[in-house]
Amino acid sequence: MRSLSRPLCLALLASAVAAAGCGGAGDTPPAANGIGLQTPNSPLVTLRVTFETGSVDDPAGKNGLNALTALMIGRGGTASLTYQELTTTLYPWAASIGAQHDKEVTTIIGEVHRDHLEPFYEIFRELIVAPRLDADDFERNRDFLTNAIVSTLRGNDDEELGKQTLNALLYAGHPYEATEMGTERGLAAIMVDDVRAFHAARYTADTMLVGVAGGYPDGFLERVEGDLTAALPPGDGSINAGALPAPRAVDGLELLLVEKDAIATAISIGFPIAVTRADDDFYPLMVANSYFGEHRTFNGRLMNQMRGLRGLNYGDYSYIENFIQDGGSTFPVPNTPRSQQFFSIWIRPVPHHNAAFALRQAVRELALLVENGLSQTDFEATREYLVNYSKLYVQTTSRRLGYAMDSRFYDTEFFIDEIRSRLETLTVDEVNAAIRRHLQADNLAIAIVTRDAEAFRDDLLSGEPSPVTYNTAVGDEILAEDEAIKPYPLSINPGRVRVVPVEEMFVEVS
């Protein structure tokens, strides 16, 4: 975690060892740089190895170097095997090796049936300590990342485009500004030697954490730890010594509108918060957020007000940390911890004619949350829900392992246990006080992906009420509330309003 100095961080890791066992039956004895979750009856084995390297470590002008390095491990060869030879070897085992890269942590993930653990591990180990990093892997993976930005992000996924636009607005001038994939020009500027140097500098033993879960043999965790530690540069503990700068303050309602031929309008809203899982206030905010906008459930007020009662779109959620959904599940992907977080609202695409109304409604709902907080009844129901639901975060040993490793990053007890113990003693007053401390509706970064963005901007700046159209007659109570939503004042900062063609997004950082 970057806000801690390196020696202190190492000390905390050592002291957190006992917690890392997560309370699961069969946990192996703690190790200095490793976490083991041994389940002898499982035929599967997962390896997760994290390094504290992320897109924040990309050199100036070379945004994407961390991603490209990770990709050349996850989708590249080893010193002794070309990528083609590697895939041919893994194929009959249906084994997988992947690289997950985020702002501050990169994770190499391997999964294999225990029948093939030994030969698989040899490849996995070599990928980390001696990746091939050759010209073929480089060109292919750089093109893939570039296409992921210029084609997929700009043209194939408006929801992700909205989220990345919010990130760019929120963190302008901050190391988080670029996408986790980098920027178009940053990727173009990278040479294969840059990747080799980055691997040598950033994949060091001092920032490594090894995790193994499943039906692995006794002593395996210690062996992996020992092999990797011996083969990687030790590092001197200084590489992440400096804390990240604070994000800039959002000044009023700031708008970044992305112009494209969108079928509907995608909106993301957010602002930085000085809270992570390491902070006491994370847990009361977790309750507040679940009540307000739990991801992909009908528990949240946003979802019920915007989709349930009004049918405005497919879903409306909120978050108190960066959220990446794990595959087809509704749970967050592990191993993407960050030392700085943000609050956000995700409004899934709304038909253009109702988009301004939806934006006003979301901002108003946030203001109401800040003003009113939770009732005792809402608090108790949400707390009970979270205590039970959070157990489902860790249905597989692989995910359980990932969360245990994240708890090391944040220097907390195992996250799921922490939720239960913190929520047990929590009160509604503490929740509402945390809301008042950290949430607000006056200074918001707002990303809007839409067609005819200039007209949308002008409409919002005009101060005219935003109408809404429904498929059906709605109740008097809803209509009465709509009259409050339509003219709900948006204190837009006219100096912080921009319209950008989609082709100009993610070209480079500001």
């Binding site: 997988s96 993930i109 408006d158 994939m181 969108a262 829900y385 639901y389 489902l392």
Partner: protein, 451 residues
């Protein structure tokens, strides 16, 4: 939510670059499904399948409805299987929407649903001690669903929202066009989400939605799958108590039989936003069977053509870097589906080359027997891939539910894997020649609109 069959977990996902060999089948001398299975059936035809799986304190409860967009036979009513999935969350007299949501919330359950062309599934994963509450809630909405016309019309807005988010991805448009061209009368002509005009007209068809419920939400058209930490006798007692009064139905949809395709169909479409060219090549394929070798042989062939071990993949993706995505296969389906190849081409001037390379490789498998070792590796990959998918109660229930919706028989999964084991090089040449004929082909190319 509506799921795209096959590539349903975000095949262009941007965050995790993983080298996963996605396959769907396997072989072994022993049964491929490794957990004890118990089956019982109520007098009304409701089948209940219990799977004993070591997941202390957790259960998965899946209700499989053997109805999907395949059942949408009337013109103008595409998308209703999926729409109805949404309406099932609109409450009953006993548990109105708010009460249902409140009860699910109290349980801390992970509860949702999805719809495909052949089936609809309502799934809940929760604490094991919630079993009776789940059965109470689920049985109530399957027996006593009650929603107002206003609720129905409001939900139509959410459906349009889901269509909008799906169609910000050009693959949705590509697949919609390919299916429209390849099928003439079978409901596979439209994708599960439905056609935009039909979705826009949904608010006016409340009565049809009620009819849909009456036709298909019947015990003899549903199967319950429970996986994890539960007592089988208790399960049988509770299901009998809560579902016993459910009246069986007798509606049989008249699903038209698609005639053989007479000649190749092609189309070129454009996308108004930035995109790499996308090419799809489709062939009508055999329906699912756990008795005939055709479908399993075609599944093995899809691996030989498009897995990361395949020469074509290695040529186009690794050596030439002409594509950054290439996948192909047919979804197990109750009626003959489309075997769909999708490639994302990295450079517009490589479109013809990629198309020709795919077709040439398909031709090669018509006459050139696959090497024994390659075939063995492929079967091994399929077997281990299947095992890797069975890592928690939800995926196990979904896997078994998939095969149950096809035949109603929990042993189907084992039989089909025995068939995979039996596939020979000759079988592969046979299915390549039988199904990959020029006249059976549909090709759609999507490119970026010129501006």
């Amino acid at each position: 939510m509506a799921r795209l069959p096959g590539w349903r977990h975000g095949w262009l996902a941007l965050v995790v670059w993983s080298l996963v060999f996605g396959v769907s089948a396997a072989q072994s001398a022993e049964k491929i499904f490794p957990f004890p299975v118990s089956v019982f059936e109520l007098d009304n035809g409701l089948k209940v399948v219990g799977v004993d799986y070591d997941s202390p304190g957790i259960i998965a409860y899946y209700t499989v409805v053997r109805t999907g967009s395949r059942n949408e036979v009337e013109p103008g009513f595409s998308g209703y299987a999926h729409f109805f999935e949404h309406m099932m969350f609109r409450g009953t007299e006993k548990y109105p929407t708010d009460a249902y949501n409140e009860a699910i919330k109290r349980l801390g359950a992970d509860s949702n649903a999805f719809t495909t062309s052949d089936w609809t599934t309502y799934h809940t994963v929760a604490s094991a001690d919630a079993l009776e509450t789940i059965i109470d809630l689920e049985s109530d909405r399957f027996l006593n669903l009650s929603y107002s016309e206003d609720d129905y019309r409001t939900e139509a807005g959410a459906i349009l929202g889901e269509y909008n988010l799906n169609f910000s991805n050009p693959i949705s448009l590509l697949r919609e066009k390919a299916h429209d061209l390849a099928f003439t009368i079978h409901p596979y002509k439209h994708t599960t989400i439905g056609l935009l005009d039909d979705i826009r007209a949904m608010p006016e068809h409340y009565d049809y939605s009620v009819e849909f419920y009456d036709r298909y939400y019947r015990p003899n058209n549903c199967i319950i799958v429970v996986v994890g930490d539960f007592d089988q006798a208790e399960l049988e007692r509770l299901v009998t108590r809560y579902y016993g009064a459910w009246e069986p139905g007798d509606f049989e949809p008249a699903i038209p039989v698609e005639p053989p395709q007479a000649r190749e169909q092609t189309a070129e479409i454009t996308w108004p936003n930035p995109t790499l060219p996308l090419l799809t090549i489709g062939y009508h394929a055999p329906r699912f069977s756990d008795e005939r070798i055709d479908m399993p042989a075609l599944d093995v062939l899809s691996q030989l053509l498009f897995s990361q071990n395949a020469p074509l993949f290695q040529q186009l993706y690794l050596q030439e870097q002409a594509v950054d995505v290439i996948q192909g296969g047919a979804v197990d389906s109750r009626d003959p589906p489309l075997f769909e190849v999708i490639a994302r081409i990295t450079k517009p001037d490589q479109i013809a080359h990629v198309r020709d390379a795919i077709l040439a490789e398909i031709e090669r498998f018509k006459t050139e027997p696959v090497d024994d070792a390659v075939l063995a590796d492929t079967k091994s990959a399929m077997r281990y891939s299947f095992a890797r998918g069975l890592d928690s109660p939800g995926p196990i229930a979904e896997t078994l539910g998939h095969y149950l919706q096809l035949t109603g028989d929990p042993d189907t999964v084992n039989r089909v894997y025995e068939l995979y084991d039996a596939v020979t090089a000759e079988d592969i040449m046979m299915v390549a020649s039988t199904y990959f004929a020029d006249s059976n082909r549909t090709v759609v190319l999507l490119t970026e609109e010129e501006r």
